[in-house]
């Protein structure tokens, strides 16, 4: 475990809105982004899409568990650096967030979850959805807390996951490293044909909400909401940007050496 420093001064922060890409490229870019965030001492928030429906496995999830999911076998699969359960990236929005190592401190990871998710809950409520932290529902209903056994992220529950009704529609997962903290998050917009048991936001609440399918066609909206959430926990000065050539070259190397490699994807046998 490595911890150090405090966030006192305003941090430079950059939002990257990236085009759809393969799973291995997205994971490699997140790793390159984290390293760049550390070397440049800035926060980077990345919003991206997936060029094909892709399953991302949590860092420690076993390959055998994935192999048992017959409905997923025709899809692309990649392994994340972050923990948690598997996500089918189809009809969902993904963000990744890189926090330099010097900003890591006690309670910071919990604070990041809460700050980002708090902003998403507020936004969804404004749009008319009955969004809550799972812990709020859990306290009210006395529902048993689910430990992390289910295969899919959206079947699991942690206290700060976001639910609409009793359905989880957003979760985040983290990885700490010498470079800093990487946080992934996923907002399930609609139900994928491959996972009909995991209804997305638009399926969970079918009450009349004009133009919401159009509204939820633009994942850049998630970036604006996450930025608001981060302002609650970090003092950021935001600009828009994109990966430079050096970062892209680093991502290429990471994709080739690790994330596009079957050896990496199938490596864990927990």
């Amino acid at each position: 475990m490595r911890r150090s420093g405090l966030a006192v001064l305003a941090m430079n922060a950059v939002l990257w809105l990236d085009p759809p890409a393969s799973g291995s490229w997205n994971m490699a870019m997140d790793q390159a982004m984290l390293e760049y965030a550390a070397s440049s001492q800035q926060v980077i928030l990345r919003i991206y899409e997936w060029s094909r429906p892709t399953v991302s496995l949590g860092y420690f999830q076993s390959w055998e568990r994935f192999s048992e999911q017959s409905e997923l076998q025709s899809l692309d699969v990649v392994r994340r650096m972050t923990g948690g359960g598997a996500i089918l990236h189809d009809r969902e929005w993904t963000y990744s967030l890189a926090i330099p190592g010097d900003l890591e401190r006690k309670g910071h990871s919990e604070q990041l979850y809460r700050s980002v998710h708090h902003a998403v809950v507020a936004w969804l409520r404004e749009l008319g959805y009955a969004a809550n932290f799972w812990e709020e529902l859990n306290q009210k209903s006395g529902t048993t807390y689910l430990k992390s056994d289910p295969f899919f992220c959206f079947e699991r529950r942690t206290q700060v996951d976001i639910v609409v009704g009793e359905r989880k529609i957003m979760g985040s997962a983290q990885r700490r490293s010498a470079h800093g903290l990487l946080q992934h998050g996923s907002l399930l917009i609609d139900t994928s044909p491959a996972t009909p048991h995991l209804p997305g936001l638009l399926s969970v609440d079918t009450s009349e909400k004009p133009n919401h399918r159009y509204y939820f066609a633009n994942p850049a909206r998630l970036g604006e909401v996450v930025k608001i959430g981060l302002q609650l926990g970090l003092n950021c000065r935001w600009t828009n940007g994109k990966a430079n050539e050096a970062i892209i070259e680093r991502a290429k190397a990471e994709a080739e050496a690790r994330f596009a490699s079957p050896g990496w994807t199938r490596s864990k046998n927990r």
């Binding site: 475990m1 911890r3 979850y113």
Partner: protein, 130 residues
């Protein structure tokens, strides 16, 4: 073997070291670290015979959502692994010092212990982080 947290040496990354009379170091993670990590679900430890380098990663631990690296406080060869711990991580929460040790290491450079913090200095670090 009785382990007194006040007699241990600590790395800034929250691993502790206890040296026995035969020159074998027992290594674990502190109660502060265990509390910080919360709800541990998986731990990956090194293999028997693996060579460790001080301040380099030797394993990883996953809490409910976060994966965190574990850093070796000393250099040396792994001579024993607490393999039962991996399937009973709740032991770490109950007793991170005696029952919750992670591994034993034959030191290659005992002088590295002098670079680690004593209990008092480590408590100060934890207090500043709190």
């Amino acid at each position: 073997m009785t382990i007194d947290p006040k007699q241990l040496r600590y790395a800034s990354t929250h691993e502790w070291v206890s040296l026995d009379s035969s020159g074998i170091a027992t290594i674990g993670i502190s109660a502060f670290a265990v509390e910080e990590l919360t709800d541990l679900v998986f731990m990956a430890l090194p293999k028997l015979g693996q060579k460790l380098v001080a301040q380099q990663e030797f394993g990883e631990v996953e809490s409910v959502k976060a994966v965190s690296p574990l850093y070796s406080p000393v250099s040396g060869e792994v001579v024993e692994i607490h393999s039962e711990l991996v399937s009973e991580l709740e032991i770490l929460g109950e007793d991170p010092y005696e029952k919750g040790w992670l591994m034993k290491v034959k030191l290659s450079d005992p002088s590295e212990l002098d670079k680690l913090m004593d209990y008092s200095a480590y408590q100060k670090q934890c207090g500043e982080a709190a």
